[in-house]
Subunit: 205 residues, 2 copies
């Protein structure tokens, strides 16, 4: 029998991943139903791909076509808006740094609503929130000073923090997006949320 507080669900993702967008709309509710905190962990898949030798599906023949078809089908099923960005994949360095800067400065809730805002801008409206200006333009960021965002993105502690989060993810086996870890159990893909749900409900099998 387990005692003590329940372990959180870690939700690793790259803003450039459409399946992470699909998962982002469901993961908090899933966590709530199981009484689990969900820790959002934006990472950079580019760094991970260097280890695995993978590359973005949207840059691969045949897989790109399926991805567009499948993501649209999943978005329709979930009732989520979807507008294909002109350029993919997004360079998610800046929004990831802004997220971690907000977390480092004890604004975790703001970091999460900003992440949701980035996902909605990129996948729901087809925008490219990959510059300081574009991120500062998101409604969540309206209370923030653009100069301060810019400075944060250039600061060594923020750069180091993102790098540390990515390295930690890789060291724990995270190689894709979205990727979930709870009590060491890994689940890769938005299509595995039902498995994660069942795992938490049953205690595993």
């Amino acid at each position: 029998m387990k005692t003590g507080p329940m372990q959180p669900i870690e939700f690793f993702f790259d803003f450039a991943s459409p399946y992470a967008y699909l998962a982002s709309a469901r993961i908090d509710d899933l966590g709530r139903r199981h009484g689990r905190l969900v820790l959002w962990r934006p990472i950079l898949l580019g760094a991970v791909f260097k280890v695995t030798g993978m590359k973005p599906s949207m840059l691969m023949p045949m897989r790109d076509e399926y991805l567009r078809h499948d993501v649209a089908r999943c978005a329709r099923a979930a009732g989520l808006p979807l507008v294909w960005p002109d350029a993919m994949p997004l360079n998610s360095l800046i929004p990831a740094r802004v997220f971690h800067w907000l977390e480092m400065t004890e604004r975790s809730d703001l970091a999460r609503t900003l992440a949701i805002d980035v996902f909605r801008a990129h996948w729901g409206r087809g925008e490219a929130p990959e510059t300081v200006e574009a991120v500062a333009d998101l409604s969540t960021a309206h209370g923030l000073n653009p100069g301060e965002i810019d400075q944060a993105c250039r600061s060594a502690p923020v750069k180091d923090r993102l790098r540390a989060v990515v390295d930690d993810a890789i060291s724990r086996g995270v190689f894709g997006s979205p990727f979930f870890l709870v009590e060491g159990e890994p689940f890769w893909g938005a299509d595995r949320l039902a498995d994660l749900d069942r795992w938490l409900a049953t205690g595993g099998w």
Copy 2:
């Protein structure tokens, strides 16, 4: 309103794919529930990977470890036996040719039971049914003449048939295993059988 006979479900797979093994245990029942024929289509992923630039997950750092964990977890959930083969991936050329030879000679039912036998030998018992001798040793093949199997695997019509099936699959967007096509709608992965099920139940969305 649709009339006429319902389109079959095409089930594309490589015997070397553990997720195809998982799907093979469920797809016929799914087809039956929807009154659909299921056409089994063994292909060679090697030929597909040349187009996409992908390679087997079991040969990629990090993904290999996840695959072993995830396949074992899925097999437990499904109550399927799983013994990891010593060498992966299997060279599935011979069993694929034997399958298509049986189909070409109007023994489709035998082809399917042989395919199930190949999956069970490889993934359920960890064997390597990749030679004529090993395939002839499978219980399904006991009524067949090993010399005849060997001759079939070397014959131009059988080689051509497998090549044609693979080329046709690629031309219709099949890039992974298992991969399902029904009325032009593609579903990739054993974890999408629930989606395929819902698609057939609802007529799509």
